[in-house]
């Protein structure tokens, strides 16, 4: 990815301009995150202080609160109103089941679409593409009704069980990777007498582990971020996921307690940011693949 419009490094003045532009942009993108953390370690009184006096120490206190109120975090974690450990567990359980379901089903389907020959697989691929473009709202009401018949409303089942039926986006993503695996490999296995299930398990799955990692990461993050699904299907506070709990925390206490709200927000976003930093390369490459090889 080192290709760029100029191979030579930039001249002095241009480079200065570039650094300036990038620095301003970086401050703009980071400031809200900084302010979130900053508010989370202030006292409510510090957070609500209006225009600071025009002297250095009061401006410094605005930016770096003294002393740091780390107790806010303990307060949030122990709060009876915002049961963070419970919501984190709910979110994690759904995210893991979504990842397992999506990767298992999508890799079977993508294998069939790329390496098995049968009538209708091209049509099926067009359905995969087409259904990615459908707005969820068209299916929303009937699905809600169907899940209600099953008695699933209020449980987390509607949020993960359908992912075992091959979510189109992940079929598409895995297909992009599977196309790069040479057919000679699977054909040689056929000659050696391996059945399709064996080929899938012993050749395709190990060879595409990076792709499965990308897909798994994406589905964990997407599920972690999902707000609309939980909003529609989860009716009891004890089943809430983190985004839904954060929203309900804000509507009930947001106008009152900014420091606790920000501490809660930090705790909600922290796991995702950690996942990202632990898997940055895989992650970025995955996004690039969905956009380029389409």
């Amino acid at each position: 990815m080192s290709a760029s419009s100029t191979d030579k490094s930039l001249s002095g003045r241009r480079r200065l301009l570039l650094h300036l532009a990038l620095a301003i942009m970086a401050i703009g993108y980071l400031a809200p995150l900084f302010w979130m953390i900053d508010t989370s370690v202030k006292t409510e009184k510090q957070a609500m202080s209006q225009s600071p006096a025009a002297n250095l120490s009061s401006i410094r206190n605005l930016v770096i609160p003294h002393p740091l109120r780390v107790q806010n975090y303990a307060k949030v974690i122990r709060s009876p109103l915002f049961k963070l450990p419970l919501y984190a567990r709910n979110t994690l359980v759904i995210a893991l089941l979504v990842a397992i379901g999506s990767m298992l089903s999508a890799s079977l389907v993508a294998y069939s679409l790329t390496k098995l020959r049968w009538y209708g697989r091209t049509v099926l691929f067009w359905i995969v593409l087409g259904s990615m473009m459908l707005p969820f709202s068209v299916m929303m009401v009937p699905l809600y009704r169907i899940y209600r018949e099953f008695g699933w409303i209020g449980t987390n089942l509607p949020l993960w069980l359908p992912t075992f039926l091959g979510p189109p986006f992940y079929i598409f993503l895995l297909r992009q990777f599977y196309l790069t695996i040479p057919n000679e490999l699977t054909e040689a296995a056929v000659i050696d007498g391996a059945g399709p299930l064996k080929i899938w398990w012993y050749i395709m799955v190990p060879l595409t582990r990076p792709a499965l990692t990308v897909g798994g990461l994406f589905s964990v993050v997407a599920s972690w971020k999902n707000f609309f699904g939980p909003l529609v299907y989860l009716t009891h506070q004890r089943t809430f996921t983190l985004p839904l709990a954060l929203q309900s925390f804000q509507t009930r206490h947001g106008g009152v307690n900014h420091t606790l709200l920000m501490a809660a927000t930090v705790l909600v976003v922290l796991p995702i940011i950690l996942i990202f930093f632990l898997s940055q390369k895989t992650f970025i490459r995955g996004i690039a693949t969905t956009g380029i090889k389409g």
Binding site: L33, L124, I284
Partner: protein, 320 residues
């Protein structure tokens, strides 16, 4: 499963067996809901009682539903402004981040970070950032805005403006953001720029795929950096621009989380968007039939805009 030759019954069976999850998915999660939703859209349906056929009443009522018209117009405005704006902005960022620079890895991470946050978190953070009295944005803006107001008032006085205008300028304050209709809409549009990380990454990957030879030969022909950008980079990038455009259109017509948490559609209905009103009609007012009708209209709008994009693509997308 020989690569060539006839597809045997066995091949057909195996292929379908592996695709079975998705075939079931299409039946249960796609075709059945689509059929039912089309049927409900012609019914009075609350989900508590069986649907009653009412013909095209749900669709006709949409035209006289002021809230619906407002949501439609708001979403049009949002889509028409935010899609080109965020495309242009992310392209600009990608071009800057593609220039040789020792720190660009860090800068890329910084731009990408906000797009990882759940939109609920983005909404909560920015509500606090833009809080009219205690928020840092207005804390920062208050003095400069007051200063500009005073200067403008002096100029207005010298030009002999009406006392009302002068008074207004002397009291110039930063906007209340989410409590003022137009500013609330502008804020939601602006926030879509804060979350463009994914689009930037896709653009960067596209930039990485432009063959170096093209730049070398352009340079031999004496093309400066601007002309290389205009005649090599941009044309080679058009397929990626197209992909991001289609994704942007589809996404913008479904915007929900951000306004739902930030403004609940307010003030008034200034930030009431299509999907929010659809959700409200269906799950809060239990007008499920009307919600389905709205969903089908939404589908048709998204479909026609996507087709329009595909049709226009022949004129401006360069496929290699």
């Amino acid at each position: 499963m020989a690569a060539y030759g006839r597809i045997t019954l066995r091949d057909q069976f195996t292929g379908m067996a592996f695709a079975l999850p998705f075939i079931l998915g299409v039946a249960i999660l796609l075709i059945m809901p689509l059929g039912l939703s089309l049927y409900y859209s012609f019914c009075h349906y609350t989900m508590l009682t069986p649907p009653i056929w009412v013909g095209d009443q749900n669709y006709r009522h949409l035209l006289s539903d002021h809230a619906f018209i407002r949501a439609l117009i708001n979403t049009c405005i949002f889509s028409a402004v935010s899609v080109p704006l965020s495309l242009g902005w992310s392209l600009l960022l990608a071009l800057l981040l593609n220039l040789p620079n020792r720190l660009r890895g860090i800068y890329r991470t910084i731009v990408f970070l906000p797009s990882l946050l759940p939109l609920v978190a983005t909404a909560v953070i920015w509500r606090w950032m833009l809080s009219p009295v205690h928020g840092p944005v207005n804390l920062l803006l208050r003095k400069p805005v007051e200063f500009i107001g005073w200067c403008a008032a002096d100029v207005a006085k010298a030009l002999g403006a009406a006392p009302a205008t002068i008074g207004h300028l002397q009291n110039l304050k930063p906007p209340l953001w989410l409590s003022e209709g137009r500013w609330a809409m502008a804020t939601i549009i602006f926030l879509s720029l804060w979350g463009v990380g994914q689009t930037v990454i896709i653009f960067l990957a596209g930039l990485g795929e432009v063959p170096q030879e093209l730049y070398e030969s352009a340079e031999l022909d004496g093309a400066g950096s601007w002309r290389r950008l205009r005649h090599v980079t941009i044309p080679m990038l058009t397929p990626v621009v197209f992909f991001n455009l289609v994704m942007g259109i589809i996404g913008s017509w479904q915007i929900f989380d951000l306004p739902y948490v930030m403004t609940q559609g307010g003030p008034g209905r200034a930030t009431l968007f299509y999907s929010m009103y659809l959700f409200e009609a269906g799950f809060q007012q239990l007008r499920m039939g009307a919600a389905c009708a709205m969903a089908w209209v939404q589908l048709l709008i998204i479909l026609s805009l996507t087709l329009l994009a595909f049709w226009s693509a022949r004129k401006w997308v360069h496929y290699r």
